[in-house]
């Protein structure tokens, strides 16, 4: 690249960030001696998992470090000017005008009490002298460029009227309206589903190219790195592991950590094996329709909205079936209905041949033990006031076994998930990956016939994802439970499932064995989903 010759747009030179306060001797800095350059117009990725310091690096550019954390050494230069020496007012002139930032969570980064128009105008009023008419004209033009449907209406609308993807596009509009030279995007699409993610990122690339802005993409997702950036910087625990062109890092990683990251992209786990048709059917869903109640008025019930329309599905004993779809496709709702957590409006669901709605109390008791759920969010799925041992034991409370056997079973399963010494901990004392292991232990401790796993690894870092997924596969092989694996991530599907069901808008649009659906997708929506999954492309590149 030309970066080496010309003055870089952004230069990190020996930046070191530490937790302030009592600096304990020997405690590692949060970011250690980080140096790199970004050339004008260049797309650079900062890759790392949680705790790698990637977000701190991004925030230190704008001097927006959280309380209790400070930069103790190094220079951060923008076009040769040291940002760390700037006074507050000078820094404020840089923020927004020269360097724009897009945050991870579109639900909270827009002010819910202000119209979109006012939020767009805010930056222009601060940094440019423009009349109200000009501001409006600029705003409308920019909303059109981020492909909002009705820009005029959009100006007077509030954030809650838009979906996550649309909000992120609005955010992008607000940031690019000021024509910054550098755009920092901190996990801009982590909260979005595959299709919205693609939409937002393509738009970001296109607009940044048009404006000649450089992009610093902070992400944990190597798939995005492969697809959208030219160069990448890999961080682990605050240290620079490797930097180079994206292609080199993906195809020829030199650092052991980078190699592990790239390996996790390839996926070390083999796909699930198809089960013979002779295996009994555990779950049989026929023409399932599921509704959400509408908002009731004072005297009348609300009009219900149907979210699942006539779905058929069979899951055989020991089979792993993946359900994929975007948010709002009804996949989670269907999973809940199969566990009898949501009533059907029409149709039927049978478990081992018995219809859920017609179970006797004894059958229901048996069913509750045989069908378990693993949730997406390991933070909300564990009761914060119970110790790990009690959380896992809760599933066994209704089993007909004595206390000693129950304790033995809990210890055994904790050992199996690699948490043998964690029984007395509270959830908040564990990492996300460990919590998810607890959630899995809770589900398998009663030897279920069926486990519904709802995005079980989506909240985890890539290498942790691989570990948890491997554990899940191992336990599945050992106990032979049938599994409904609900996810939006096609890359995961290929690693775990034998059969895949694609849902969109509450109906099944395609279903079949994983290889045939992936290699020869019939439905337009499946093709779109496959095309929008950068990890698949990157995996093809690295293997």
């Amino acid at each position: 690249m030309i970066a080496a010759l010309a003055t870089p747009l952004l230069r990190f030179a020996g930046v070191r960030i530490e937790a302030a306060g009592r600096a304990r001797a020997g405690s590692a800095p949060l970011l250690d001696d980080l140096s790199f350059d970004v050339a004008p117009g260049e797309f650079v990725a900062v890759v790392g998992e949680s705790g790698s310091g990637k977000t701190l690096a991004a925030r230190s550019i704008l001097n927006l470090l959280p309380d209790g954390v400070r930069r103790v050494a190094g220079r951060i230069e923008l076009e040769g000017r040291d940002l760390t020496q700037l006074s507050g007012p000078d820094m404020r002139k840089i923020r927004g005008a020269q360097i724009g930032m897009v945050f991870q969570e579109p639900m909270v980064s827009l002010n819910p009490a202000m119209t979109i128009g006012r939020q767009l105008a805010e930056g222009l009023q601060l940094h440019r002298q423009l009349s109200r008419g000009e501001i409006r004209r600029h705003s409308l033009a920019m909303l059109e460029r981020v492909r909002m449907n009705d820009p005029v209406r959009c100006l007077s609308a509030f954030p809650h009227e838009f979906s996550g993807g649309m909000r992120q596009r609005i955010m992008l509009a607000a940031v690019l309206l000021l024509k910054p030279k550098l755009l920092i995007a901190d996990e801009p699409t982590t909260a979005l589903d595959t299709l919205s993610q693609r939409e937002v990122l393509e738009l970001m690339v296109e607009l940044a190219h048009d404006e000649g802005a450089a992009v610093l993409l902070i992400t944990h997702d190597l798939g995005l790195v492969a697809r959208y950036t030219e160069r990448a910087i890999v961080l682990e625990k605050g240290r620079l592991m490797e930097s180079g062109t994206t292609r080199q890092i993906l195809t020829d990683p030199r650092n052991p950590y980078t190699q592990r990251l790239v390996a996790s992209l390839r996926g070390g786990i083999t796909a699930g094996t198809a089960v013979p048709a002779s295996e009994p059917i555990v779950v049989q869903v026929r023409n399932a329709c599921i509704e959400y109640p509408g908002r009731p008025g004072l005297w009348r019930a609300g009009t219900p909205t149907q979210v699942v329309h006539g779905v058929d599905l069979d899951v055989r004993s020991g089979e792993i079936v993946a359900i994929v779809g975007a948010s709002g496709s009804g996949k989670t709702t269907l999973g809940r209905a199969i566990l009898d957590l949501k009533p059907l409006a029409a149709g039927s669901i049978r478990f081992d041949g018995i219809e859920l709605a017609r179970m006797t109390p004894a059958q229901r008791k048996q069913f509750r033990r045989s069908a378990q759920l693993v949730f997406q969010d390991p933070y909300s799925s564990l009761n914060p006031r119970l110790r790990v041992r009690d959380i896992v034991a809760a599933t066994l409370r209704h089993a007909d076994i004595d206390a000693a056997e129950r304790a033995a079973r809990v210890d055994a399963v904790l050992d199996e998930v690699g948490l043998a010494s964690f029984g007395d901990r509270f959830p908040h004392q564990m990492s996300g990956g460990q919590r998810q292991r607890v959630a899995i232990a809770r589900a398998v401790v009663c030897r279920p016939r069926l486990v519904v796993a709802d995005e079980p690894v989506s909240a985890l870092d890539m290498t942790i994802q691989q570990q948890v997924l491997a554990l899940f596969r191992e336990l599945q092989g050992q106990y032979g439970f049938a599994c409904l694996f609900i996810t939006h991530d096609l890359a995961l599907v290929r690693q775990i499932a034998a059969r895949v069901v694609v849902m969109s808008g509450g109906v099944v649009v395609e279903e079949g064995p994983v290889p045939s659906v992936f290699n020869d997708p019939r439905h337009k929506y499946t093709r779109e989903l496959l095309a929008a999954t950068p990890a698949l492309e990157a995996a093809a590149l690295v293997s």
């Binding site: 509750r368 759920l373 949730f375 564990l382 009761n383 006031r385 809760a394 509270f426």
Partner: protein
């Protein structure tokens, strides 16, 4: 377990001795008091504190120390009973409203909001006017006035807890709704309730004093701290100890109970263990 009790915070350090002293006073008062707290001795009215009467005597020559000791029993009993009723009823209704939602919730909220619309003391006065003035009716009146705020706090907490996924996990484990509430919701609701209970205890004690001041009181001659305060008013300039002693009793008790409540909340908090 050791470190759960090991770090005694400042809250507990001050709160426990204060509440301990209160309980000791009540305990001793059950068996022994320097004088008969309602025995009138017209030869020594408004006697100042001294060796014979440590805290002096009131306008009828009754021993203030003895009266305070008996008053502690009655005041604390009234406040405790009030809080117990308000917390029990309020928590139960709050759990119902928050967990069941729908019509139960709407109906309960309408009633609570209606009760909340009246100033507590006014509501208590009105109820006592109907029920007649006795310790039982004071408890009933005050707890009626306080229950709605408990319902509100509990319901709000339940609403945030019931959407968490571990509630669904409890259902898939086969727990009945009652088991889910008892094992997973109630423990998460308790910390704010404990804090609320201790502050309600303070309010109950103050309201009992205020009601006494307004003339609605535990029937004389039985003393409560509130009674003693209200009766001391005409003699404030000549016999200040008559107001200072029950005043200090009330202040010390409130401080102790509130600090103990904060300490309890900290002990219940699993995040203490890091």
């Amino acid at each position: 377990m050791m470190d759960r009790l090991g770090h005694v915070g400042l809250n507990a350090l001050v709160g426990i001795p204060l509440v301990g002293a209160l309980l000791a006073t009540i305990g001793i008062g059950l068996f022994w008091m320097p004088y008969d707290p309602i025995a009138i001795d017209l030869t020594h009215p408004l006697g100042s504190p001294g060796l014979r009467h440590w805290f002096g005597t009131d306008e009828f020559g009754r021993d203030v120390l003895s009266r305070s000791m008996l008053g502690a029993r009655i005041s604390v009993l009234v406040a405790l009973a009030t809080v117990a009723v308000a917390i029990t009823v309020g928590t139960a209704l709050g759990l119902l409203a928050g967990y069941l939602r729908g019509w139960t919730d709407r109906l309960l909220m309408m009633i609570t909001d209606a009760v909340l619309a009246f100033p507590g003391i006014l509501l208590a006065l009105a109820l006592i006017a109907v029920l007649g003035s006795s310790d039982g009716s004071i408890v009933l009146a005050l707890s009626t006035a306080y229950t709605p705020s408990v319902v509100r706090v509990v319901r709000a907490t339940v609403l945030s807890i019931r959407e968490r996924e571990f509630i669904e996990a409890s259902r898939t484990a086969g727990d009945s709704p009652l088991e889910t509430i008892a094992r997973h919701i109630l423990p998460n609701v308790l910390p704010p309730v404990v804090v609320l209970a201790t502050s309600l205890f303070g309010w109950a004690m103050l309201s009992e004093s205020a009601l006494s001041f307004l003339g609605v009181k535990v029937p004389p001659p039985a003393p409560t701290w509130g009674n003693m305060l209200s009766e001391s008013r005409p003699y404030m300039d000549v016999a200040s100890w008559l107001s200072i002693v029950p005043g200090l009793c009330i202040a010390g008790t409130l401080l102790g109970v509130n600090l103990l409540g904060d300490a309890l909340r900290d002990w219940l908090d699993p995040w203490r263990e890091t």
